[in-house]
Symmetry: C2
Subunit: 491 residues, 2 copies
């Protein structure tokens, strides 16, 4: 089957082996992919949006290749502790705003979904929540305790990193070793329950005033953040699955801990391919709210930010993100977004023009060669910037064909059209800007009426031609006849 | 405070007492409201949409009055058994489609949220899922067992309705009594574990092949459907809260069982005011897919249904729903929707015109009297049809002022403007039509093309007529010729 031949070409960069590997799913054509989702205590960070857009591209390309992908992305609604503190991010927000933690969760989950929709990311197949999987998490903690690698201390349960490291390598994913980690550890308060400062909580006993808490064999408390992803990925994808993704800031300690938990609880490596997206900067600097270099998705979309000169369509921002490889850093700036906006519009105009091209007797261009180049770029660890560069070769072709300088025969034109329409819409996930569909429909109807007016003119039926023009004017469309043919504007 | 004076005027019809009662929240200005949400195994039924639009109106009006409302609406993602069967609705769909039950849940949860957004309903404050509250449900089952009103039988746990009825009245909400219920019971298979056919499962032991199951003190299984609402409303609103709502088909047995569970588990009435919405019909008949009288929200919005002549904007449908009181049945029909569409547009035009009105020296109209009438209608058990009728009085005023036949001074014009803008947008939840303008433009262009096709037919130029039809089809417009003229639908 052609599709399986194509499959074997895909190379992915595996953080675990630090090299490109041929993608071979455990149980093709099925692929299991888990991506760490947001902690829903504030508006999603634009860096997270980039991560989710990157995995959306990966999800879409795997589907394009014919894989049946189960894509699981979680919602962290409990247990994500603030650094060096015993407080959970969501509980803190709820305390500050004097509402129920689950109201914080609901508000920012809705906001997250709306943002993801604006950027045209597909919904994951399953979107499990940490609070929805307490029983599964308690089961995994019990397994870890039974394996001898978890210990209870004053109602909390900790993972024994040193004991684990005697058998396995703690730090295998991020390339660290335990001696180095120990020497970098500072003494912090509230650590006296642990055998070693490297140990991490898999269950925390709750203070009496804590709201989000559940009964367990050890105490009334809540699960550690690292634990939820292990429990939920196992529930929906099995104890070993194909792809685990996330931002590179999650490599250590979050993903390192996931590996340790899975090995302790289930006895083997949880993941075949670990994929990590790189970071964002803004005007060359790390984004930090305190320095005024932070920018939210909403600010980009509305243009409401001192360093932005205009509002950007979410499709422009998506296009801009895809113009960098997911493993490269990406620098946002007003100028770069303006350039991306032009490029995006040029690409979409060419896609719209595809329908107007006429077939010729002969082909002067090699369609298969160009589409192969696009696929080869994507097969090279989802290299969207190179794939987009080849799409702009196609844009050039469209314009040359419009001018009559190049031609395609009927078969070639069909495959050219089909491939680029599908690739741009279904793989890159780019659609005509927001009010897209209606605009397309209006455009289609206008083309029909402009053609009919032209026919009337050719047949010297000026009454009909004028009547069409006048009726359109009444509806708010102004027709202009020019050298390049007839165009229109909407009032 | 003005706001508290206003509060005491609100009357709500309480299903439990079968009469209008003055609304007095347990802990004003806070109000707790729980509404039974969808079972996410298929596209949401238009009858459910009406229920959620009705409670959206109630939520919005309570907020308008100044109450701080915590609105909880659940998602049923497990445990909703099919009638006379041991199979769960979601598990059955997953089995038929050969996917994981949580993939079914995700697909239809996303679809539900998109539909709710289209109808401009506000997100509830908290949207808990049944699978997210297993621990809480198991805790409630244990309480019911401890109270002597629940019994275990072969790993399942049942609620003992007859024992409960010795102390309390089972049927109090729906006006039934146990003798009548017993005499109406038929013998069905799979009931041998129960002491009485009236008893209902609060925990079901799962078959080995069952996917959605969890450990419990009684068996590996899953909770009964009635149980989740008791557990989740208690968790987020307390053991007694102000308002519980749902469609009237849920009165019995679902809400009746909730009352029984709460009294057994927590020892008192769970809810102060029970509110129920009435049913929908379509062309005067109960909607039933099998009879072709079913219509989905998507069909109404696209017009893709044999009994609809056109697509309807979700705002038109919302307006149509609000033109009936939530406790009245509502009959959908193409004609009624067309009339609603005209009314809705007239109302929105007047709202837009408000900004163009000029103040005069004197007022010839009594603004306070009209706004009081609108509020009085809403205070009368949320009587939106009467409130809307008074809004049309305001529409008349706007048009008379435009013609210079009536006038308002500056102060009166301000309060007239502010009240009606806020009431229509924030309480009725009506905004300018979604893609309104584009839809109008598309409609204008379509009328031109339909006329031109008709002219071609009249001139016996069938080639042109057919070409118009074919080109429109390609753009996604389906033309239908009928007795009343030519209409179209959008794919």
């Amino acid at each position: 089957m052609a599709i399986f031949a194509a499959m074997s070409e895909l190379q992915v960069y595996n953080t675990l082996s630090r090299k490109l590997e041929t993608f071979q799913p455990i149980n093709a054509p099925f692929v299991g992919m888990y991506v760490c989702g947001p902690t829903v205590y504030s508006e999603v960070h634009i860096g997270n949006v980039r991560t989710f857009v990157s995995f959306d591209l990966i999800y879409r390309y795997l589907k394009f290749l014919g894989y049946k992908v189960r894509y699981v992305r979680n919602i962290t609604d409990v247990g994500h502790l603030l650094d060096d503190s015993e407080e959970d991010k969501i509980t803190r927000k709820a305390r500050l705003e004097n509402i129920e933690p689950m109201e914080v969760v609901q508000r920012y989950t809705v906001d997250f979904h709306q943002t993801m929709q604006a950027f045209n990311t597909l919904s994951p197949s399953i979107e499990p929540t940490a609070t929805g999987h307490l029983i599964e998490q308690i089961d995994l903690i019990q397994r870890i305790v039974d394996s001898g690698l978890g210990y209870e201390s004053n109602g909390s349960v900790y993972f024994d990193v040193q004991a684990y490291n005697e058998k396995e390598h703690y730090g295998i994913l991020s390339g660290r070793n335990i001696e180095e980690l120990i020497s970098n550890t500072r003494d912090t308060d509230g650590q006296e329950d642990k055998r070693s400062p490297l140990d991490f909580a898999i269950w925390k006993k709750a203070d009496p005033q804590h709201i989000m808490k559940w009964p367990s064999p050890w105490s009334v408390g809540f699960p550690g953040w690292h634990l939820e992803c292990s429990a939920m990925s196992t529930k929906y994808l099995g104890t070993t699955f194909d792809i685990h993704g996330g931002g590179m800031d999650l490599k250590f300690p979050h993903h390192e801990c996931e590996i340790a938990q899975a090995k302790a609880g289930y006895g083997h490596e949880p993941v075949k391919y670990w994929l990590h997206t790189n970071m964002l900067t803004f005007n060359g600097r790390k984004m930090a709210k305190s320095e005024g270099t932070g920018v939210t998705p909403r600010q980009l979309i509305t243009g409401d930010h001192p360093l932005l000169s205009q509002a950007y369509d979410p499709m422009t921002i998506r296009f801009f993100m895809l113009q960098a490889h997911y493993r490269s850093t990406l620098d946002f700036s007003d100028e770069a977004l303006q350039a991306a906006d032009k490029g995006y519009r040029r690409l979409m105009q060419a896609i719209a023009d595809l329908d107007t091209l006429q077939a010729s007797q002969n082909s002067s261009l090699n369609v298969a060669e160009l589409t192969d180049r696009v696929k080869a770029a994507m097969d090279d660890d989802f290299n969207s910037p190179i794939a987009i560069a080849h799409c702009f070769e196609a844009v050039k072709w469209v314009n040359l064909m419009k001018e009559g300088k190049e031609s395609l025969n009927n078969t070639d034109l069909q495959s050219f059209r089909n491939f680029f329409k599908e690739f741009v819409a279904e793989v890159l996930g780019l659609t005509a800007a927001s009010a897209g569909e209606s605009v397309d429909k209006i455009d289609g109807l206008m083309q029909m009426l402009i053609d009919m007016r032209q026919q009337a003119k050719t047949a010297r039926d000026f009454a009909t031609a004028d009547s069409i023009r006048d009726q359109l004017l009444e509806l708010g469309f102004v027709i202009k006849d020019g050298k390049e043919g007839t165009t229109y504007t909407m009032k």
